[in-house]
């Protein structure tokens, strides 16, 4: 009994912080989402509007486009990071000259603030002046204009995200690979498994918890990315890189449409949870259901 009380006492500061900084803002946003509230409207007070903000979302082309852009961005970036991160982790499992140096260099992007990453990539890609468009034009005659061509802007955003966050996946998978026991691999070798079979039936299942962790963390991050994209393209050209985080920011801050922005935030949170749950169900739960067989 005494230990239970002590446990709660020790947990109390954390629970208090969670309640104040996590739960309270969430509840506030939930309440605001049922109101029509724009502080620069003719009537700047909060007016109850029921579910109208949520109803509008369904028909808001800008919101739907931002969601679709974000989804595409998440899939392209995260899948690339997982694949690239795995190969880099395997590379760092091997011994080669200056391995420590390269591992450090490879990790450096993680230490840079997203806003600085966005600014750096903007400087490198700014049309007419940045080195990337300059050399692409000089060497290959390729017109690289991310402020004009939607596809180029989108792919640059994806590549920037891959550059920034692949090291996180690499480190996660490297830790998992390093802690794997040797026995299952030796057993597979004795059983005559080839490299593909060893990867598919031994490495991948053992690596799955680490891959899933990296996948969920990165997917959630990708869904809320704002600062890097803000610096790189500002959401343009047109709607090409207007991801949901940026769209919500524009609705809530410059447009001061607090009610609608709150509803949008909650729906985005809900969709992120659903997406992660679906992934979890597809990749983990399904396998667990098969166990009794």
């Amino acid at each position: 009994m005494q230990s239970q009380t002590l446990g709660w006492l020790l947990l109390a500061p954390t629970l208090l912080i969670l309640a104040v900084f996590g739960l309270t803002p969430f509840l506030y946003v939930l309440v605001v989402s049922f109101f029509d509230w724009n502080s620069f409207a003719a009537d700047p007070t909060m007016r109850f509007s029921g579910l109208s903000n949520y109803r509008h979302l369904v028909f808001d082309k800008g919101f739907l486009m931002a969601l679709w852009n974000t989804f595409k961005f998440g899939v392209f970036a995260v899948v690339s990071q997982i694949v690239l991160g795995y190969f880099l982790a395997q590379l760092f499992m091997k011994d080669f000259p200056l391995k420590g140096f390269f591992r450090t260099i490879h990790t450096l992007p993680l230490m840079i603030a997203p806003v600085a990453v966005g600014a750096t990539w903007r400087l490198m890609t700014v049309p007419g002046l940045g080195p990337i468009p300059y050399y692409l034009n000089q060497w290959f005659g390729y017109e690289f204009l991310i402020s004009r061509f939607a596809g180029q802007a989108f792919m640059t955003a994806v590549i920037m995200d891959i550059w920034h966050w692949t090291p996180l996946v690499t480190l996660t998978l490297l830790a998992a690979l390093s802690s794997m026991p040797k026995e299952p691999f030796e057993q597979a070798q004795i059983d005559g498994a080839n490299r593909y079979q060893t990867f598919w039936y031994v490495t991948l299942p053992m690596l799955k918890p680490a891959i899933l962790s990296a996948l969920f963390i990165r997917l959630m991050d990708a869904m809320r990315t704002v600062d890097e994209i803000w610096m790189l393209t500002g959401g343009g050209p047109g709607s090409a890189t207007r991801f949901i985080g940026l769209y919500i920011w524009r609705i809530v801050f410059p447009k001061t449409d607090y009610g609608y922005g709150s509803a949008m935030s909650l729906i985005t949170l809900y969709l992120t949870i659903v997406l992660c749950w679906l992934l979890y169900a597809g990749l983990v739960a399904r396998r667990d259901l098969r166990k009794p067989e």
Binding site: N38, S39, F40, A41, A42, D43, P44, G62, V126, P127, G128, L129, P133, L145, I146, S147, R148, F149, A150, T233, G234, G235, G236, P237, G238, S239, A240, T241, R242, R250, I251, F253, P254, K255, T256, D257
Partner: protein, 477 residues
């Protein structure tokens, strides 16, 4: 010397000192005593005039009064974001904020700002001898409330001017080539057809000579409000489309169908003209805001362009930042037939009279000290150097200062143009919903720049969206 004599001499010296020291010098020190050790915080957009306040006027004010000034010069977006949040939440972080001319109506409608006329009248001890609101140019009228009281002390005012490369326009080889091609003399464009011809000519000239020169700047960032502003404030008016194409007297109509002009044939011609310029603009144009346009022109990459006047001085005179020092000409923007006449008659305008003021939020905890600071920066004695550094003028008397006259000559008469022709330009319309409407329609506008929508379709969608947004905001019934 006896003690008595020494005391008498000391008193005499003190008396003489008090007699010869100007009253106004005493004023700042005396007025500052009440606020000694106080720190006032302000926020503004990082521009040449603001940076002058940060680097020169702030420290000078501290020296004169003992009041510390913390001045945050940040990006345009951040400036708005921080200032509005502070005033809405009533947190009192900032004691003075930058009020851009187009934002003042929103701030007044929300009652964010202190009535400076009343505040100074109620605190006569804070009235500086040199502070004379009657000396402000007419630009100060934008910062007055309904009863004529001032809510912001103008700190910058300038016109968005047509800059051109005088060296190229006067080059005999260039002139001859132009005449041979177009059968007319090369001169700053008076209308849009001429402007396009000149842009075409110089883009081709750059290609032929193998130099990085294009025909025009275009402030066409595809994800920043700057592009929208160039169109509605500087291009559409030259086609006779004013106040963003919205008619406030007609229930804020935007569509032609309801009596607005946002998607009128004139507006569509204006947008098409502007979009067509992109083929004659440097590649960075679609990533350019107001700052980058100035940088492009200063780098010698464009033969002409519409550039915010706050940059005119440094582009024309500062060889540490500009490659076109001594090569800059200024002129009025090109217009469609009838627009200049309308502007002269006072029924229209040909471009943007931009600028801003510093105001004191109600949430400020140091209103007295902040009021002193605003009066300090409005003194005639600090204006000339500031005008030279930031090509801004807010007091009528500044135009006559020898330093300004000398700078005027170096900038091809920019200051004279602003004084004599400033009346042809206008500030933003008196809408309290600038940001809200812009955020609703600008994404559609950016799709027109990126080619996702035609000029005609974009304006049709923008007009419909504008009316829907104004209805939602409660301004359109």
């Amino acid at each position: 010397m006896s003690g008595l004599k020494r005391m008498m001499l000391g008193a005499l010296a003190a008396g003489l000192m008090a007699g010869v020291t100007p009253a106004k010098a005493d004023f700042w020190a005396d007025a500052g005593k009440e606020f000694s050790g106080v720190t006032i915080r302000g926020i503004s957009e990082s521009t040449p005039p603001s940076n002058y306040v940060k680097n020169v006027l702030g420290p000078a004010f501290t020296k004169a009064t003992g009041i510390n000034v913390e001045f945050e010069a940040t990006s345009w977006d951040q400036m708005y974001d921080k200032a509005i949040k502070d005033m809405e939440a009533n947190t009192g972080i900032y004691d003075f904020v930058y009020i851009e001319q187009d934002a003042v109506y929103g701030y007044l409608s929300r009652d964010f700002l202190v009535d400076l006329t009343k505040f100074i009248a109620e605190n006569p001890k804070l009235k500086a001898p040199d502070y004379d609101p009657a000396n402000f140019t007419t630009f100060a009228n934008y910062f007055k409330g309904k009863d004529g009281d001032l809510f912001g002390v103008p700190m910058e005012a300038f016109i968005k001017v047509y800059l051109y490369r005088k060296d190229l326009f006067e080059d005999p080889a260039v002139k001859a080539a132009f005449k041979a091609k177009y059968n007319r003399d090369l001169a700053p464009a008076k209308n849009h057809a001429e402007y396009t011809e000149i842009a075409d000519f110089f883009t081709q000239w750059g290609k032929d000579k193998g130099i990085e020169l294009w025909g025009s700047t275009v402030q066409a960032n595809t994800g920043h409000p700057a592009s929208w502003y160039e169109y509605v404030e500087s291009v559409a008016p030259t086609f006779g489309v004013y106040n963003w194409g919205i008619d406030p007297a007609n229930n804020f109509a935007a569509t032609v169908e309801h009596g607005g002009k946002m998607n009128s044939p004139e507006a569509k011609a204006a947008l098409q003209f502007w979009l067509d310029l992109l083929k004659n603009a440097p590649p960075e144009s679609t990533a350019s805001t107001w700052d980058e346009v100035a940088a492009t022109f200063a780098a010698g990459r464009a033969a002409q362009g519409l550039v915010y006047g706050e940059n005119a001085a440094w582009i024309a005179t500062d060889d540490s930042k500009s490659k076109v020092v001594g090569k800059v000409g200024v002129a009025l923007p090109p217009v469609e037939p009838g627009v200049m006449e309308a502007a002269e008659a006072g029924t229209g305008y040909i471009g943007y009279y931009d600028g801003g003021a510093f105001g004191i939020p109600h949430s400020s905890k140091n209103k007295g000290a902040a009021a002193l600071f605003l009066e300090y920066i409005a003194q005639p004695s600090v204006q000339a150097d500031w005008a030279v550094a930031g090509s801004r003028i807010t007091l009528q008397s500044t135009y006559d200062d020898p330093k300004v006259k000398a700078q005027d000559a170096k900038t091809d008469g920019y200051y004279t143009l602003m004084r004599d022709q400033g009346k042809l330009f206008a500030g933003a319309p008196a809408y309290p919903f600038h940001n809200q409407l812009r955020e609703a329609v600008a994404p559609i506008f950016w799709q027109a720049i990126s080619g996702e929508l035609s000029a005609s379709d974009a304006l049709d969608q923008m007009a419909t969206t504008a009316e829907a947004e104004l209805t939602k905001l409660g301004y359109r019934k």
